[in-house]
């Protein structure tokens, strides 16, 4: 089936997630959709599969124009099915229940027929799935397989896969790719969404690159990696030029540190960060940067290794000790983890006060402090403004204003994500002041320009590992782009 998207626009509030995107996918081909996190890939595919309605543009299938699909079910009736990043299935139910749910039977469940056809499809693709098993016991790869045969059973002729290689094992990936090739050979069209260069280069016949909601270009197999990287990350090559600061004694030292949560392991990090140094953590979202930051802040106890702050062993010590040692952590989700919606700026100042607290709040003094901070940090609000009423930039400034004065280490997660340029510059100005006073800064960011411009050193994470440590003065956006995609040159 030939699928065409023409001049698609989609806004989310102020974000222009898809800006005039046009895409053609030929029948019998695998078409890649490549772009960084936040480039607008999922949005575009949700438009194509009927989950969301575009603000403008049109879809045509085999040359037949449609204004839009009303719902995912409507899209599937036209032959377009989508596998979501997080498979949209029902974990507590059996595979057969999952398979049947959504088919067009009106009263009785067609269990016998479905089971037979389920088996046939499994055989056709060489999947090993048991209809009586529970979905909750499957791996992500198997859940994808289930979704694939389900969508095919319901008549999908175009299959969209959103980041299908995140979270599946290497053998499962090989199997998935074989399946997709088989589908394309059968004349189905496959749209493969990914931020991983390697996968796209392996699999796709053509690729469209999105950047910041816009089309950055198209390419045909065989691909030239540099071209793809350029399209993904933009062309400017920015060799960092930072004011040099004398680095002091080590602030934080990691000794064979291993971090784990239920999804990811970050093994064996040894490293020290010195006074006045800025360390950037680059990598795709969820590659381990967050675990690392949380470990620095004392929020995630390491499962092995040691962590020292100013020479004092803080491994597996309570969060309190980290606070007292002069560490501050700013999470990415400002409203969820950083600020308390419903409370005002001055109330936040009371909450954030460290050290000895009085039983009664001295509101006169608090208001003075708040007013001073508001002026100092150029926050557009008054002491009684509730934080949720502030814009993103002002929320971030408020968070900065709440940091205690003599910090040794700032751990920041996406410090400027979603902010306008003016706020970004302002915030970095404030952060670099701290650095001059001798604080070390560790920050994670998806913006490679920001990474290059402000850091001294960069750790590149890929799939939980630190695959490279580079000096910012010796690298470029392009090289970082490669590394982030898991490619060492």
């Amino acid at each position: 089936m030939r699928v065409e998207l023409k001049n698609i626009h989609k806004h989310f509030g102020a974000v222009h997630a898809n800006n005039d995107v046009t895409l053609t996918v030929e029948g019998g081909s695998i078409h890649g959709l490549l772009g960084e996190n936040g480039a607008g890939k999922s949005t575009l595919m949700k438009v194509l599969s009927g989950y969301i309605h575009a603000d403008g543009g049109e879809i045509s299938l085999d040359g037949k124009k449609l204004k839009r699909f009303n719902s995912p079910a409507d899209a599937l009736r036209h032959g377009v099915g989508m596998l979501h990043q997080d498979p949209l299935d029902f974990p507590p139910m059996t595979l057969l229940d999952n398979f049947i749910l959504g088919c067009d039977a009106s009263l009785l469940q067609p269990r016998a027929r479905a089971e037979k056809e389920f088996r046939e499809l499994c055989q056709q693709f060489n999947f090993d799935l048991d209809t009586n098993a529970f979905v909750s016991d499957l791996t992500v790869g198997e859940r994808q397989q289930l979704e694939i045969i389900r969508l095919l059973w319901l008549g999908a002729r175009t299959l969209i896969l959103d980041e299908p290689t995140t979270g599946i094992s290497a053998p499962q990936k090989i199997k998935l790719f074989a399946t997709l090739r088989q589908l394309a050979a059968d004349g189905k069209s496959v749209i493969f969404v990914s931020h991983k260069l390697e996968d796209v280069e392996d699999l796709c016949h053509r690729v469209t690159v999105l950047r910041r909601g816009q089309m950055a270009g198209e390419a045909k197999s065989p691909f030239v990696t540099e071209r793809l990287v350029q399209m993904m990350f933009g062309q400017q090559l920015n060799i960092g030029k930072r004011p040099n600061v004398e680095l002091g004694a080590p602030v934080i030292e990691f000794d064979h540190l291993t971090l784990k949560d239920d999804r990811l392991t970050v093994p064996d990090i040894s490293l020290s960060v010195r006074m006045g140094e800025v360390l950037a953590l680059a990598g795709l979202e969820g590659s381990g940067q967050q675990l690392f930051l949380q470990a620095c802040a004392g929020l995630l106890p390491p499962s092995a290794g040691q962590l020292r702050l100013n020479g004092i062993d803080l491994t597996r010590k309570p969060y309190e000790n980290f606070l007292r040692a002069g560490i501050a952590y700013m999470p990415a989700d400002r409203m969820k983890e950083g600020l308390v919606p419903g409370l005002s700026i001055e109330e936040h100042i009371v909450l954030a006060k460290r050290g000895k607290k009085d039983a009664l709040i001295d509101w006169t003094r608090t208001r003075q402090t708040a007013t001073a901070q508001i002026t100092d940090f150029n926050i557009k609000g008054i002491p009684t403004t509730r934080v949720e009423a502030l814009s993103g930039g002002n929320q971030q400034r408020t968070l900065l204003a709440l940091l205690p004065p003599d910090l040794k280490l700032l751990a920041l997660e996406h410090p400027t994500r979603g902010l306008d340029i003016e706020s970004t510059l302002y915030i970095w100005g404030k952060l670099l002041e701290r650095r001059k006073q001798g604080a070390a800064i560790i920050f994670a960011s998806a913006d490679l320009d920001e990474v290059l411009q402000y850091s001294d050193r960069i750790l590149v994470f890929f799939g939980g590992r630190v695959i490279e440590t580079v000096r910012s003065s010796e690298t470029s956006v392009e090289q970082l782009g490669y590394l982030i995609g898991g490619k060492k040159q």
Partner: protein, 322 residues
Amino acid sequence: MEFFIAILASILSDSAPIIFASLGETLNERGGVINLSVEGTMLLSAMAGFAVAFTTESLVLGFLAAMIVGAIVASLVAFGSITLKRDQVAVGFILTLVAGDLSSFLGVPFVRVPGPQIESLPIPFLRDIPFIGPVFFERDIITYLSFALIIGMWLWFYKTQPGLQLRGIGERPEASFARGGNVKLMRYIYILLGGALIGFAGAAFSLHVKLGWSHRATAGFGWIALAIVIFGGWDPLKVAFGAYLFGALRASATTLQSSGLEVPVQVFPLLPFPLMILTLVIFNSRGLDRVLNYLPLGARRALTRLLRSNPPAALGTHFEQE
């Protein structure tokens, strides 16, 4: 033997209101909405059902009125929680208070007046089956309906396509939507149906089990129905089992009391609760999973199905399609 049959029979018919109420609630919660107003709804519909049956001298109209009252209260829950997106627990709790007080206020003229009641209706032929006949088939229409509801709801959940969709909506509404389900509409329908069943339970109370109307007549049975839904793991058969277990414990209390045994009777009605907590703790523990892992695959799956009692994952949440 005679005695035993009599006790079993009374458990079956006395449990009918709780069966209707807890299965009505099961229907709501499977769709993802908690209707916390069961106690109040039962009170109001017990009063309304009795009042209508008393004035019109028609039991059918009495039950119909009760079901309508139940559906009306449920529609308020639905409107508050689905359309206005208020907290389901808060909405249900307020309604239970309001409906309960309303029943006391409106029910004053009917307090302790003798009224109509359901007659027993033995089923020919079936009643002659030894043991089974006298236990199950010498009852009345309400009890038969409660049997039918248990089996019917089980079939609906596990054998029909709309029932499967219902389970999907309570589990993961966004995935149901992706598969063509109209989440809000279906939630509305099932809440109204569940509410009607809870209303029916109220009338079954005042016209069948504890005849007549008096202030606070349902005595907390609505809350018990809510607990039984959890105990039964949202599965019609297990919920029914929980309801009968509760009935059995109450019946033993009465029997023991009349046999002059020195047991504090208050203990028995309370027994189901520690029992429920215990089952919940056991069935949701990791220990159970570990034990199950030693079993062969077939047995493990069968037991998992039998014992697993996870609430519908989307219970109490709002759904907003993009």
